[in-house]
Each structure stands twice: as C-alpha cells, then as structure tokens.
C-alpha cells in the first residue's frame, strides 16, 4: 500500500438511472499535491467529489482513499473533509457557533478545537459572532473552508472554493491551500476558474461526459497542446501584422477576442513560431509592448479536449 498516495481510483463508474455520470475514471493524487478537477457542466466532477467525500458509493471500480479501500458503506475514511455544491452552513448560527457545533459533533471541546485559529486562517475573525444568514457567498465559502480545516484533514475535497471570493479572500484561500499542501495535505478542487487552477495546481484532471480527457501535470498539458492564440500590442500594428503574415507557422487571426481594438494583433501559433515572430519584430525595430495568450493554456486545452471528447461520442 502506497502511503504517499491520497487517492487511487481505478475504473470508477457511477450511474443515475440511465445516465452514466462516471465512466471508468482513473485518478491518482499524492499527498501534498493540489490536484485540479475541471470539466464542463455535467461532466461528473461533483459526482466524483461526492464519492471522495463518502456521499455515495461507486457502482463499479476500485477506490482507495488515504491508503484505505472504500467499500459499500456511505462514509469516507477518517481524515477526509471538504464540501461539494457549496459549504453547508446553518444560517441561524453564528460563524463561531457553526464551527463549535461541528467540533462538538466530532467530540472536541469548542475551546480547544482550534476554532479561533481556523477563523483567523480564512480571515473571518472579525465576523465570527455574526450569524451566517448575513454572509456573502465568499464569506460562506471561507467559513466552509474553515469548517473543513477544523478536522485537520489529510485529504481536502473542495468544489468551486473560489466562487464569490474577492481578491483578498482569494488570496487568503490560496494561501491556506498552499500551506496545507506544503504540510502534506492532498487537496482536490474543482473549478471553472482556470487562472485559479493554474495558480494552485500541480496536476489537473479534465473530465468530459464522465470520462477522463486528460490527467497529469500542467506542463504536460501545455506540451500536448496545439496552437494558441496570442494577443500582441506593438508600436506599429500594421507592420507587425505584415511581419506576422510572413512568418512561417504564424497565422493572423481575426480580431476575435481583441475587443475590436485596431492596435491589437491576434496571432495563432506554436511557441517556436511565436518566438521567431518576436525576433523579427525586434529586428524590424517594432517595439513589443504586450504579449499574452488570449486564453490560458489550460483553458485552451480544456476547450480542445472536451470538444474532442464530445465529438468522439
């Protein structure tokens, strides 16, 4: 048994009546890793997270969590925490009471359960005695994360944890997740925010229609990717456009995504061809003021892979 492996899933299937939610899913997550789960709506992300949290049992396949085989019982092994479809909070209780009730449920004394610590970690100390009824979505997300942290998890499962977070809240949450991972906790999170996943995750799994379209490191995803659209802002857009059109492997795209700004040039190319274009621009005395992908590599891969998967069905 691999003690460093937080999750090992092989051939997991789950059906709801005639609907196949998961179709032979393989997943490996090691301890200390933040693993992203992405996919279009209905791809099976929430179902998979639910299996990891012990909310349902798979119809077929094998699943090991924290080195323990998961059986037919509706419960996850000790050390697993998190939430799916948003955190579950009781609006008539304050933030502190929500956490204290949860601590008491686990048999901990509210005074020694580390409630103040987790409130501080997620930045909710100032509103600890406010009822959850008045909390914004972002505050609820942070309180949900605090509730998960209270159990000192070794595997944290989060569904869209960045929903509704302002930049400061996002920074808080990212900091907490990064620290947990550095301490050895495995984190599996789903998100539609590709920038979040790129910032946090070392590996991702892309699901489409219940199947794994890709699973592995982000770097491998970029390498496997096709051409990307890049947005260029130069000192001479017309000359830059001519140069781009003359550069091998570079195609000038229409101003889709450029906001119809005539100053902006959008080109489609692989990285080597883009490098060549940049060299030629500089040699031609054209200043390059901005160069960025129109969509992130992960998002591009996500779109390409999921479209491919759905077309293949």
């Amino acid at each position: 048994m691999d003690t460093l492996r937080a999750i090992r899933a092989r051939g997991i299937t789950k059906c709801f009546g005639d609907v196949v939610a998961l179709d032979g899913i393989d997943l490996d997550v090691t301890q200390g890793q933040i693993h992203g789960l992405v996919g279009p709506n209905g791809a099976g992300k929430t179902t998979l997270l639910g299996l990891l949290l012990g909310l349902a049992v798979a119809d077929g396949g094998s699943l090991e969590i924290l080195g323990t085989p998961v059986g037919r019982a509706l419960a996850a092994p000790d050390g697993v925490a998190g939430f799916v479809d948003g955190p579950g909070l009781y609006p008539s209780l304050t933030a502190r009471q929500n956490l204290a009730a949860l601590a008491a449920l686990r048999g901990h004394d509210a005074r020694t359960a580390g409630i103040e610590d987790v409130l501080d970690q997620v930045g909710l100390t100032d509103v600890a005695d406010d009822r959850a009824r008045g909390f914004s979505l972002g505050m609820r997300q942070r309180l949900g994360l605090a509730a998960a942290l209270l159990t000192r998890p070794r595997l944290l499962v989060l569904d869209e944890p960045s929903n509704g977070l302002d930049p400061a809240g996002k920074k808080h949450v990212h900091g907490v997740l990064g620290r947990l991972a550095s301490e050895g906790t495995a984190v599996v999170l789903s998100s539609h925010r590709m920038d979040d996943l790129e910032a946090l995750c070392s590996e991702v799994t892309i699901l489409a229609t219940g199947r794994v379209a890709f699973s592995g490191p982000l770097g491998k995803l970029a390498a496997e990717n096709r051409e990307l659209d890049y947005r260029l802002l130069t000192s001479d857009p017309e000359a830059a456009r001519r140069l781009a059109a003359d550069t091998a492997g570079v195609r000038v795209a229409d101003a889709v995504g450029a906001g119809h700004d005539a100053e902006v040039l959008v080109v489609r190319a692989l990285v080597p061809a883009l490098d060549e274009l940049v060299v030629r621009l500089v040699q031609a005395g054209i200043a390059l003021r901005e160069l960025a992908p129109v969509v992130s590599p992960l998002e591009a891969a996500f779109l390409a892979l999921t479209e491919q998967q759905e077309t293949g069905r």
Binding site: G60, P69, V70, G71, A73, P91, R106, G144
Partner: protein, 459 residues
C-alpha cells in the same frame, strides 16, 4: 476493495476499517438540538406553549360566557382543572397537529432547503445516526411543547379559579387530587397520537423534501382524521384511526374509567408512530445524496411511504373489529339511557347538597332514563341532535316518581350534551336558588359520553 458488485461480502470487513470514528447518536442529537433551538420560530413556539395557555385559561375563566361547546368548558368557573382539559381539547384538534408540523414536518426538509445534507453527511458519516438524532431532537422539542401546554394551562386554571373538585363526564365528583392525576394522565395519553403525527411529519419531511406539502402533512392528516370522526363511521373504523386517542381521553373522566377505547386508541397511535418512523428511516437511508435529479417525491417514495400506512389502516380496522365485536355506530339506546341516568343521579346528589336537602344516594334514587331518537321508541341508535330522554327517579319516603326531560345532542364520537327541558325546579333553569344565593344548576346542562364499546351497565 473492488466495488464491482452491490453486495460483495468481501467488502464488509474493509468497510468497517474504512469508516473510522463515526459520530455517535448522542453527539449528533446535541447538534440537532442546537440547530432546532437556534431557530426563532422554535423559540417562539416554546415560549408561546409555556405562557399562552395560562393567559388563555385565566382570561376565559374571568369571562361571563364560557366555551360550552368544548368539553369541560362549562366548568371553567367551577374549577381550575377544567382549564387544562379545555386546552387539551383545543390542542388535540389544532395545536398539536400544527406544532408537530412545524417541528417534525420540517426537520429533514430544512436541510434540503439550506442545502446542508452533504455537509452533514460528511461530518456525521452515518445516515442512520442522522435520522435517529433528528427524530429524537424533534421528539424532545415536541415533548417540551406539550409539557408547556399542559403545565401552563393547569397553573393558569388553578391560580385563577382554584383547586376545586371536578365534575366528571358521568356527573361524579373527582377530588382535586384525582382531577389533577386524571388531567396529567389525559395529557400523557394524547402523547401517543401526537407521536403518530410527529412520525407522519418525519415521513413527509423525508418523502417530500423541500415541498411545503411535507411541512403540512401532519396537519392535513389530523384534519382528515377529524373529518372522519365527524362522519357516521362504524366503531371499528373510528377506533382504528391514529387520532382517536385525542378523543378517547374523555373516558378517563367517568367512573369506572372507559379504558377500552382509550387503550385501543393509544396502541393504534403508537403502532402508527413506529411504522411511520420506520418507513421514514428506510426512505432516508436509501436516499442518494449525490443524485442531482432527486426530488424526494418519486413513485418509490409513495410506494414505500404511503401504501404501508394504507395497509395499516385496513389491518387496524380488521383487528379492532375482530377483537371487540364492535358493530355499527356504537351509539345505542341502552347505552345512551344508562349514561344519562348515571350522570343525572350523580348530579342530582350535587344539586341536593347545594339546596341543603336531606342526603340521598344514587342507589336510593334508582334513576332511569327512557330515550327516543326522532320518535323511534325501540332500538334507537346513532348520533344526532334529536335524542329525547325522560329521566325518572325516586326519593326515600316519597311515593311519587320524579321525572325530568332532556334534549340530547349526541355526536358520532359518543360525546353528548344534555339540555334540561324541565321541570324548571329540577333542570329547566340555569340557576338554582340556594340558602346562600343563586348558584349554577348542575342539572340544567351537562356533558356526558357514551362508551362506544361498552356493554356493561355502570353505576
């Protein structure tokens, strides 16, 4: 472990190892209580149940017109123990069904509404523990509410009117201590149908999820049972309904107590409580909390939740009919005559004492009643307001036989109101002139009941 088959015995040991540190029912129960008590509506209900009945009884007892339509209502000036019984009659019809709706009918649905099921399951790890804790927590709150209604109304009545003896439904006088004990017992008996309604509430809450119908189910079932009790049902059908104990406690206030219908009502209600709770548990533990299409009201829920209860009604009717040999409405001429004569004899003694006349016993009075219904002389039966009784009695050393007339309104559940129709000196006027002034005439109007299963004369 390989999750390849639904019932792989090899997984059992692994399951036990995998599911570590499940939360105990006791901890889960405390958690559920905290959640319930943190709700304002529950706090308000508890407060209302512990205060409002006392205020109601105190206020009504001070008024000149009393709620005579409610059992014991006409006695609210006479004794403080009538107050909790009037409250009990009202509670059985309205308050308890509504209270169980608000508490038990919402205890599962609230998690659907708040979207907290998954959170709770991740935290507790055992659907059975969650079910047990929720059922126990809602039961605790319901018991607290019922205790509040009983205590508050009793305290209100005794403090406002006093700790006087209570006239029973057959006219016999219960001492204050007896009355207190019977009042307590009556409230304890209605716990059984209250539990049945609470279990129906749990079932509705599990079965119908966030639908308002789940919340209303106990109240609707209670209303349906009340309507059924107003219909001319056969006795077996009446007693087999889980709400009959809301009526049958009346039998405690006769001598001897009419325990047969009460015991049947309590047992039927408890069987309903156990069955509905078990069905709710079965539906709950089978629920798939990750199924996005679950709306709680599928055909399986109806098949598992409703059909067994329909079967239970049929079985209860059959068992009651077979074990009691009860037939028809249970309201028969002989029983009505015995009930009226018995009550008259007891109340006549009371009037005799009021008037400071020579002491007389029921045996000496040898009271009898001859009742007809709508002109039918022999074999009259059934409920109706067209019963007419002529009561006859004898006094020691007096040759003549005394007679008095009553008009009776007998309801299908066996309760009757006897309205004195003269002579004026006996039962024709609401006051009697005593040496100390005018006093309410105990023979003018009185409540009584006909035991639907009774076969033996009472005295």
């Amino acid at each position: 472990m390989t999750v390849t088959t639904a019932d792989d015995p090899a997984t059992t040991a692994d399951d036990r190892a995998a599911v570590a540190r499940r939360v105990s029912v006791a901890r889960c129960y405390r958690f559920e209580l905290v959640k319930l008590v943190s709700q304002w509506r529950i706090r308000l209900l508890v407060l209302a149940c512990w205060i409002a009945p006392a205020l109601f009884v105190a206020a009504v007892s001070q008024q000149s017109s009393l709620p005579v339509d409610t059992l014991f209502g006409r006695l609210m000036h006479a004794t403080g123990w009538a107050g909790p019984l009037v409250t009990l009659g009202f509670a059985g019809s309205w308050a308890l069904p509504l209270l169980t709706s608000v508490v038990a009918g919402d205890v599962f649905a609230s998690e659907d509404r708040l979207g907290t099921w998954r959170h709770l399951l991740v935290a507790v790890r055992s659907p059975r523990a969650i079910f047990a804790a929720k059922a126990l927590a809602s039961l605790t709150v319901i018991l607290l509410l019922v205790a509040g209604l009983a205590c508050s109304s009793a305290v209100g009545g005794v403090l406002t009117v006093g700790n006087q003896p209570l006239v029973g439904l057959d006219g016999h006088l219960l001492t204050s201590a007896d009355a207190a004990g019977k009042v307590l017992l009556a409230w304890a008996c209605v716990l059984a149908p209250t539990l049945a309604l609470a279990a129906i509430g749990l079932l509705g809450s599990v079965m119908l999820g966030r639908s308002p119908m789940g919340l209303l189910l106990p109240a609707l079932v209670a209303l349906a049972m009340q309507l059924a009790q107003m219909l001319p049902l056969p006795v077996a059908g009446r007693l087999a309904l889980p709400g009959y104990a809301f009526i049958a406690w009346n039998g405690l206030f006769t001598s001897p107590a009419q325990v047969g219908p009460l015991l049947i009502g309590v047992v039927v209600a408890l069987v309903w409580a156990v069955t509905a709770t078990a069905l709710a548990c079965l539906l709950f533990v089978r629920r798939d909390f990750t199924n996005p299409s679950y709306d709680g009201s599928g055909s399986r829920a109806v098949a598992v939740g409703v059909l067994p209860l329909v079967g239970l009604v049929a079985a209860a009717v059959a068992v009651v009919a077979a074990t009691t040999s009860a037939t028809g409405s249970g309201i028969e001429q002989d029983k009505v005559q015995r009930s009226v004569a018995t009550a008259f004899a007891h109340l006549y003694r009371m009037q005799t004492e009021q008037l400071h006349r020579p002491h007389v016993t029921e045996a000496q009075l040898r009271a009898t009643a001859a009742c007809t219904k709508g002109g039918v002389q022999d074999g009259a039966q059934g409920p109706g307001n067209d019963w007419r009784c002529v009561v006859s009695w004898h006094l020691p050393d007096v040759e003549a036989t005394g007679t008095a007339i009553y008009q009776l309104d007998v309801t299908p559940d066996g309760r009757f109101v006897a309205d004195g129709d003269g002579p004026k000196e006996v039962n024709g006027y609401f006051l009697v002139r005593t040496p100390t002034g005018d006093a309410p005439n105990p023979l003018w109007q009185f409540d009584g009941n006909v035991e639907l299963l009774a076969n033996t004369p009472k005295g």
